[in-house]
């Protein structure tokens, strides 16, 4: 795939999430200008980047959405839930399109017709007709309170002092970035002359090109300088002074906080330099900014891509350049243009638009010797539409696979490290050198510490906040509750709690299940609630909290709750519990019957105050993660489901055993003890092998038989039995041999074994063998069936 498109798709995902979240929040806090702005910016960025590709429907639809949002932003329109619906629908449609693009690299054929209706609806509140984007946007904003990155051109010491003074006096200061067009001298503009007229100038920074052209190539009439200045002059004065060059300046008003935040974020200057070359983050006419971003993107696309004429990629670049040219008011005919022509044309257009200092863009890629971090350079193209207001630490976006690979390598390092202990033994036993053995062990200890720290560091990288898992629920709850005609307030707590990405990922489905159940069946319609003396709006809570090395996620509602008597009766009718249990089962145990396999099917939903659809599926997936699920309920008052999951499932300590020469792993936390029992002491009760241990009868399962492996214990030899505790019941496993305990990185089953439930995953051992880790519950089930 075209790297430009791949980049766009990656970015699109985030933008869509931002828009969704922002719109939902807006519905709750209508008119919050910050929120509106956020959504608008995301939509705007989306439109800007979509223009890069030959997806006219996408651009049209985002444009319509953006226009609507713009009206909301400017306060000319109030966002109502109808508009929110349309906007959400538009971005949903886009999400669907992009999925199609991901696989086919083009929009679905139906895109035009799908979009038409929505576009009409989105435009309706604007008076219907398509508003063509004319570059008449306001030049500067009155209270942008986020410090732009270019502030870094002013020295930190002065900024610190200024921030202090502004705090003391609770005042603000205006900061201007003046980025003259390179051909501005030919309009008789003299930027320095303009700058010296700035009233109450406090600080001036002159930004020189990263790389000057050589004396012979130097064109004295090309303006290469730009200016950053701080002033106490009012916004009005500045706007007046710079009125002839509004598209070349950006003015922000900052208070002490904004500057302090900027300072603590330590924005890297090198990146700024890269950004000025690749983009020009200025508030000029939006259209021109888009056009420039487009041109730069096209340029980098041509630089990385080995494109040839006729290539679709080249065609999309041609398209991009042509639309940029149109936007800049200098249409060009590029039919049949090749790469070189295009590059020349892009240069020319950039020159006409508001170009970067000559030679800078090219110099970037060659400036390896200069202290430009690779990450910064790689980052530059992706920031094409960044409004330049990033504050705080820089975050690297890393492909999940790379982190997984890192984790794998940590695992292999652990394994290699463990090899040293064998070497130490060999040094002593085979070569008779205790000293050498001692030294190897010391080395091992050092490596062990480093490996552990490395592992912890990688694990930390894998940690994600629970908000990732909770993120989809505001939308889900909103949509479902509207459809069901119920009023539901969703409350989320503890979104900051961190857990391993695999846990977060695996948590998704069970949570959706639980929430849907709650909405569908647990929560009553408003009238029923009022009749029951409850507030008409139901409350659904998603809460997360860390608990040692586990994370607890709770889904609770204040709906009708579960009737334990009905659950018991149903379970009895299904043959899941005995008549005795029907009598004796406590209420809380009864409620948890809903998790039993075979308890419920869809047709029984309404029958049982709703609870139970596929709850056994929830239990199964949670247990597969090594977690547990319990439910508490008070009839008429609500239901409370608690999931307990390991914080991380990346490293598991397993006990290695073997049967028929094949090794298997068993999670150590299940292992109670390992025992050798003389053959004669094995007993048999009702076709079940048993062993007496400290007065307790422990059933013994033949692992070889359960797994259908060709092995039988040698008659007369001691039996090796691994005692495990499953569902608080002790069970012995008859095995051929015990091995060591090892730390392994458990990987989910793939391929043919993906459906083999008796295994919970695989792990690589030091000698290169693959260890299958047993899912004990399933193994016990298998054993029961075999017997």
């Amino acid at each position: 795939m075209n790297p430009l498109l791949a980049q766009f798709l990656a970015e699109a995902n985030d933008l869509l999430a931002q828009v969704d979240e922002g719109l939902l929040q807006l519905e709750r806090v209508p008119g919050d200008p910050e929120l509106v702005n956020e959504v608008f910016r995301a939509a705007h960025t989306f439109k800007g980047s979509s223009g890069l590709f030959d997806f006219p429907e996408l651009t049209r639809l985002t444009h319509a959405a953006e226009d609507l949002l713009d009206q909301v932003r400017s306060g000319r329109l109030a966002l109502d839930s109808g508009m929110t619906d349309d906007l959400l629908a538009a971005f949903d449609l886009i999400r669907g399109w992009l999925a199609h693009v991901t696989t086919h690299e083009r929009l679905p054929a139906s895109a035009g017709t799908d979009a038409a209706g929505l576009i009409t609806r989105l435009r309706a509140p604007l008076g219907g007709e398509a508003v063509t984007a004319v570059a008449t946007t306001a030049t500067s904003t009155a209270t942008i309170d986020v410090a732009p990155e270019w502030l870094a051109w002013l020295d930190a010491e002065w900024l610190t002092e200024t921030a202090g003074w502004l705090a003391t006096t609770s005042s603000t200061m205006r900061f201007v970035r003046y980025f003259p067009d390179s051909d501005c001298f030919f309009r008789a503009e003299d930027p320095l002359h303009l700058v010296r007229q700035v009233p109450a100038l406090e600080r001036l920074g002159v930004v020189q090109p990263r790389v000057w052209p050589g004396p012979d190539d130097y064109d004295e009439y090309v303006c290469l300088l730009s200016f950053i200045l701080a002033t106490r002059a009012s916004l009005g004065e500045l706007e007046y002074l710079f009125r002839y060059v509004p598209d070349q300046v950006q003015i922000v008003e900052l208070d002490s906080d904004a500057i302090t935040r900027h300072l603590s974020g330590e924005p890297p200057l090198q990146v700024e330099a890269a950004v000025t070359a690749a983009v020009m983050p200025m508030i000029d006419s939006d259209l021109a900014a888009d056009a420039r971003a487009l041109l730069h993107a096209a340029q980098s696309s041509l630089a990385v891509d080995d494109v040839v004429a006729g290539d679709t990629r080249l065609r999309s670049v041609v398209h991009a350049v042509a639309s940029a040219a149109r936007a800049l008011g200098v249409p060009v005919n590029l039919t049949g243009a090749d790469r070189a022509t295009l590059l020349a044309e892009i240069d020319r257009l950039l020159g006409a638009a508001a170009p970067a200092p000559a030679g800078v863009a090219e110099d970037l890629s060659t400036a390896v010797a200069a202290p430009v971090p690779a990450a910064a350079v790689a980052d530059a193209p992706g920031r094409a539409d960044d409004p330049g207001g990033q504050v705080g630490t820089r975050v690297l976006k890393v492909d999940q696979e790379k982190v997984d690979r890192l984790m794998e390598l940590v695992g292999e390092l652990n394994v290699a490290k463990n090899g040293l202990t064998f070497l130490a033994d060999a040094a002593e036993e085979e070569f008779g050198s205790r000293v050498l053995s001692r030294r190897i062990k010391d080395q091992y200890a050092g490596m062990h510490r480093i490996a552990e720290e490395l592992q912890a560091a990688v694990m930390d990288v894998r940690m994600l906040p629970l908000s990732v898992a909770f993120g989809r629920f505001p939308r889900l709850v909103r949509d479902l509750s509207r459809r069901l005609g119920k009023t539901i307030e969703l409350v989320t707590e503890g979104e900051d709690t961190m857990a391993d990405k695999d846990v977060i990922e695996a948590l998704g489905d069970p949570l959706v299940h639980l929430v849907r159940n709650s909405l569908d069946h647990g929560i009553e319609p408003s009238d029923e609630r009022i009749a029951a003396g409850k507030p008409p709006a139901a409350r659904l809570t998603l809460a997360a909290v860390a608990d040692g090395d586990a994370v607890i996620v709770e889904v609770s509602d204040d709906g009708r709750g579960v009737d334990p008597e009905r659950v018991k009766r149903k379970a009895y009718e299904k043959g899941l519990i005995s008549e005795e249990e029907l009598e004796t089962l406590s209420e809380s145990d009864a409620v948890n019957l809903v998790f039993r396999a075979g308890f419920s099917t869809a047709d029984q939903v309404s029958d049982l105050s709703g609870r139970g659809v596929g709850m056994d599926a929830v239990r199964a997936s949670v247990e597969k993660l090594g977690g547990s699920v319990t439910m508490r309920s008070k009839l008429g008052q609500g239901t409370f489901t608690r999931l307990r999951l390991p914080l991380s499932m990346a490293v598991t300590q397993v006990m290695v055993v073997s049967v028929a020469g094949q090794r298997f792993g068993i999670p150590v936390d299940l292992v109670v003890e390992t025992v050798r029992v003389p053959a004669g002491e094995m007993g048999r009760v009702l076709h079940q092998d048993v062993v007496m241990m400290r007065g307790e009868v422990v059933p013994v399962i033949d692992l070889a038989r359960a797994l259908d492996m060709p092995w039988a214990p040698t008659p007369g030899e001691d039996r090796r039995i691994l005692v495990v505790s499953v569902n608080s019941q002790r069970i012995g496993l008859l095995v051929e041999q015990f091995h060591r305990e090892v730390d392994v990185i458990l990987k989910p089953m793939e391929g043919l074994l993906a459906y083999a439930d008796e295994f919970s995953g695989t792990a690589l051992l030091g000698d290169g063998l693959v260890l299958l880790v047993l899912n004990m519950k399933e193994v016990l089930g298998l054993a029961a069936r075999v017997a």
């Binding site: 051109w153 002159v206 000025t276």
Partner: protein, 91 residues
């Protein structure tokens, strides 16, 4: 005349406009060890400033003009004022 050019020294006088930029740049290109006096200079066109920044002549005397003395001179004398940075400088 805003430019008084000699073999190795130049006096910039009054307002150096865009019309002088070409001549000044040409002189800077060829002069072996250029020295520039800004004492009587009241304003430098951006293009002239840019040429001085590129060719880095020795500044033999400081401008009387307050703006040039405080904001521009530090750029030219190498003791680059704290507020003025070159693109390739580390932060």
């Amino acid at each position: 005349m805003p430019l008084e050019l000699h073999e190795e020294t130049a006096n910039l006088v009054g307002v150096v406009t865009v019309d002088e930029v070409e001549q000044l740049t040409g002189w800077l290109r060829t002069a072996r060890r250029p020295k520039v006096s800004l004492r009587r200079c009241n304003h430098l066109h951006t293009g002239a400033l840019q040429a001085l920044l590129l060719f880095k002549p020795k500044i033999s005397s400081a401008p009387n003009d307050a703006f040039l003395a405080t904001q521009v001179l530090p750029l030219l004398t190498g003791s680059s004022g704290p507020a003025n940075k070159q693109g390739s400088d580390p932060p």
